[in-house]
């Protein structure tokens, strides 16, 4: 399929076609974009423009389709819900004693029907759940609305007269209230799911028993290793994901709606819900307040993040590909040696190379020292990583030093996969190497490596290591310059990405502001999700997942 695309493009590229305004809205004939001849006959920049326009013109249609599907989806959900209710009713109406007792004692209906392991596990979970719910769940859920309160004041009488009294407030830890509430909700959902399942199973076994089909623990083992092998494999990974990814993310989102900052550190202070206040203060543009400046700085950091992600991704991609092509040229010897040397930056742990580079390019580092001993610079150092503009350029350049080998590795193998006859026929037709690159090599590589590019782009938006270890965020914003500093942006530098900024606000700062950090975190998520969705929706290799199996 890939090579087909490439061939088509080489053949149709030369013909100029009239592109009237109608051409852009003509793609609705049930054809996908890539198989549309009219689209293929456009020149490359026009194609990009077309895709871009297509994305936006398609939005109303997609929205329409979405809203159209809402009633149908709602109906499906409703039927599903009805099914659950009917199942429960069925178990109550038609179940025997054990099935009915399973309403209260989970797993009883299974134990009595020889599925002892499963029944006991259900029952153990039930016991655990109610103990947990009673001891931890109820008190914390009750406090979730107010995030805890000052419960009592303990008086401690220090001297005999009773005049000198210290009062120490004993109150709830808002953070644990939030955390335990989330955990309780997760457990409740799990409980409801298991409760319904064991009821259904019990009724099923009862009916099997009625027609003389015996159940035993062997079925359970068969389930574990064959029928529901997916659950066996995914149980621990999903458990880990829930504990250390999903619950923290929910917490993070909740914290964005609270006033959790340096003056409200648990357990000495209570946290409170503040609604959308944090969001509105980030986005407020009134120039007089500090928050207005905050928004200005936020936009600058965002812009640099996008510029960085774009250049870091594509510089590595194209330079790596060119390196792979140069080494692949016929007649170049010692191919393995060149590759091995270039790969050395992968093999040495990245943080060492980065820290080393940060020292080599420091003001009093190796590069300046060597340049001075050669007499190329005077007494003034070249501010490689301390001048705002130069630091940005240097970071992108130094990043290629680390990133090129990866792309080179990937491209080396893929380039050999391109059928050679494509190049030969192109050569006979008199195509120049540059033309061959743009008409054969690049389309093929882009087709195959789109998922890689996406993950690289997303990874670069969140690339903490390169920035933090190279420049630690780089030269700081100067106070009283074009952007006055407020408390929340202290420590922010010119080369900070959103992600390193969050780190500075929340972890390394002396006045951490977790709430603002969470807001920025959510915004980063929105940004990343936006780009990934665009890429994923236009990527063929994601659409055709099954095609490769």
């Amino acid at each position: 399929m890939a090579s087909n695309n490439a061939v088509l493009e080489t053949k149709t590229s030369a013909t100029p076609v009239s592109q009237d305004a109608d051409g852009f809205s003509n793609s609705e004939a049930g054809l996908t974009l890539d198989s549309n001849l009219e689209y293929l006959s456009l020149t490359k920049p026009k194609q990009i423009l077309y895709k871009f326009a297509h994305f936006f013109t398609a939005i109303p249609k997609k929205l329409g389709r979405f809203f159209h599907s809402v009633p149908r989806k709602a109906r499906d959900r409703w039927h599903k819900g009805q099914g659950v209710v009917r199942g429960i009713y069925d178990a109550g109406a038609n179940g025997d004693v054990f099935t009915r007792l399973s309403f209260i004692f989970m797993g009883l209906g299974l134990v009595t029907r020889h599925q002892i392991i499963r029944g006991i596990l259900y029952f153990l979970y039930e016991v655990f759940f109610f103990v947990f719910f009673g001891i931890v769940g109820v008190p914390n859920l009750a406090r979730l609305g107010s995030l805890g309160q000052i419960g009592s004041v303990q008086y401690e009488i220090i001297d005999e007269t009773g005049l000198n009294v210290t009062a120490k407030a004993v109150h709830d830890n808002s953070f644990t209230v939030m955390l335990y509430s989330i955990i309780t909700i997760v457990f409740i959902l799990l409980f409801l799911f298991l409760w319904y399942n064991q009821l259904k199973d019990s009724l099923k076994l009862q009916r099997y028993g009625a027609i003389g089909k015996a159940a035993s623990d062997k079925d359970t083992i068969e389930d574990v290793f064959n029928k529901h092998y997916d659950r066996t494999l995914l149980f621990i990974p999903i458990l880990g994901l829930t504990c250390f990814t999903i619950i923290p993310i929910i917490m993070m989102i909740l914290i964005a709606f609270t006033n959790y900052n340096s003056s409200h550190i648990t357990p000495d202070h209570l946290i409170d819900w503040v609604g959308w206040y944090n969001f509105s203060s980030v986005f407020s543009t009134s120039a007089s307040s500090t928050s207005g400046n905050f928004f200005k700085i936020f936009m600058q950091v965002l812009l640099w993040t996008l510029i960085w992600a774009f250049f870091a991704t594509f510089s590595n991609y194209f330079l790596g590909m060119i390196m792979a092509m140069i080494i692949n040229i016929k007649g170049i010897r010692l191919k393995k040696l060149w590759r091995t040397v270039l790969i050395s930056t992968i093999a040495v742990p990245q943080f060492i190379s980065l820290l080393l580079l940060s020292k080599i390019f420091a003001d009093t580092g190796l590069v300046n020292g060597v340049l001075r001993s050669w007499g190329w610079i005077g007494s003034a150092n070249i501010p490689w990583l301390t001048d705002p503009m130069l630091a940005k350029i240097m970071i992108i350049v130094l990043n290629t030093w680390i990133g090129i080998p990866y792309t080179m590795l990937i491209c080396t193998g893929l380039l050999m996969n391109i059928p050679n006859d494509l190049y030969e026929s192109a050569k006979i037709d008199g195509a120049s190497p540059v033309k061959m690159y743009f008409k054969i090599t690049l389309p093929y590589m882009l087709f195959v490596t789109t998922p890689y590019l996406i993950s690289q782009f997303v990874g670069n938006i969140n690339n903490f290591n390169v920035i933090y270890l190279l420049s630690t965020g780089g030269p700081a914003y100067t106070l009283g310059g074009d952007v006055p500093l407020s408390v929340t942006v202290q420590g922010l530098g010119r080369t900070d990405l959103l992600i390193t900024w969050i780190y500075k606000i929340s972890i390394s700062s002396t006045n951490p502001d977790y709430a603002t950090a969470s807001v920025i975190g959510i915004l980063v998520f929105v940004l990343v999700a936006f780009f990934s969705l665009i890429f994923y929706n236009n990527s063929n290799s994601v659409k055709d997942e099954e095609e490769f199996q």
């Binding site: 995914l234 060492i352 820290l355 998520f525 990343v528 490769f548 199996q549």
Partner: protein
């Protein structure tokens, strides 16, 4: 006529050959310059690790001394094992243990997850894959802070080995590359085994695993190397205590302003010390690494 044509062709051939030659010479020159640039930082690190003075502005401080007459010295390497303020060898053992255990456990879990997503068909397959994709888009370490608080509640912050728990818990997020690799193994193999009466467990271990050596090695290598470079989690968990640091956190400490004059050479020595085993491992397994990354990262 004919000889002239022949001569013409010959000269054409010659000029073509000459053009190729000059092109190749240009390419070789370019490659050599590039390779020099590529290894220069490491050479600098290597030389500095044997230097006895703090002279970061000199490429080879041992030959080109700033002051006095320094020479080769192994003192920087001894310092790594003797020093009490910044106990490198403790960091090294911490990291080695963590990365070894992580590599074993995580490889099993990553491959299991990938196999489930690639080969098994169940109701929640697509939703789960999408969920993991979306989870991966959240900036990871805001949640790290919350993870830290969770660990604190569970009283697990007193040991650096809690990192193990966090690394292993995140293994489901890395299914992507191994899944891509499994996708390329023909399904007919599974079907043949199934007809012979194998259950899915047997298929996974007896059919798929033996065919997946590159991706097993690749995953193990990646998961082994990752803890060496992980900076954020380690720094949050270590919280400034030298005994609890990993190599990445500790070595960043070594070149902090207050330490750099004393420890810069030791930092370079440490860099060499860490790099040697990993580089050796890497080049030993390079074949599998390349096969894994080209077979899994991109579907061609």
């Amino acid at each position: 006529m004919t000889p002239m044509l022949q001569a013409n062709a010959k000269s054409k051939y010659r000029s073509h050959k000459r053009a190729v030659m000059t092109r190749n010479i240009g390419i070789y020159a370019f490659l050599i310059i590039l390779c020099v640039f590529w290894v220069l930082p490491f050479l600098y690190m290597f030389f500095t690790s044997f230097s006895s003075v703090y002279a970061p502005t000199y490429f080879m401080p041992l030959i080109n001394p700033q002051k006095g007459q320094p020479g080769w010295t192994g003192a920087n390497y001894v310092m790594l094992f003797k020093d009490e303020t910044l106990p490198f060898w403790k960091w090294y053992l911490n990291t080695l243990a963590i990365s070894a255990i992580t590599a074993i456990v995580e490889t099993v879990m990553v491959l299991g997850t990938s196999y489930a997503f690639s080969r098994l068909r169940f109701k929640l397959r697509k939703p789960l894959m999408k969920l993991i994709l979306v989870l991966g888009m959240f900036p990871g370490f805001l949640s790290m802070l919350i993870i830290y608080f969770i660990l604190k509640l569970a009283n697990l912050t007193t040991s650096i080995y809690s990192l193990l728990l966090i690394y292993v818990a995140g293994s489901a997020m890395q299914y992507y590359i191994a899944k891509g690799f499994f996708d390329t193994i023909p399904k007919s193999l599974d079907e043949a085994a199934m007809i012979d009466g194998a259950n899915k467990n047997t298929i996974f271990f007896k059919v798929i695993m033996p065919l997946s050596k590159p991706i097993v090695v690749y995953t193990a290598l990646i998961t082994f190397i990752a803890p060496w470079g992980d900076f954020m989690l380690g720094s949050i968990l270590a919280n400034g205590q030298p005994d609890m640091m990993t190599v990445a956190v500790g070595m960043q400490r070594m070149i902090a302003k207050e330490y750099i004059v004393t420890y810069f050479n030791a930092f370079c020595a440490g860099g060499v010390f860490i790099s040697i085993p990993i580089v050796a491992l890497f080049f030993w397994l390079q074949k599998y690494y390349v096969e894994g990354i080209t077979g899994g990262a991109v579907k061609g």
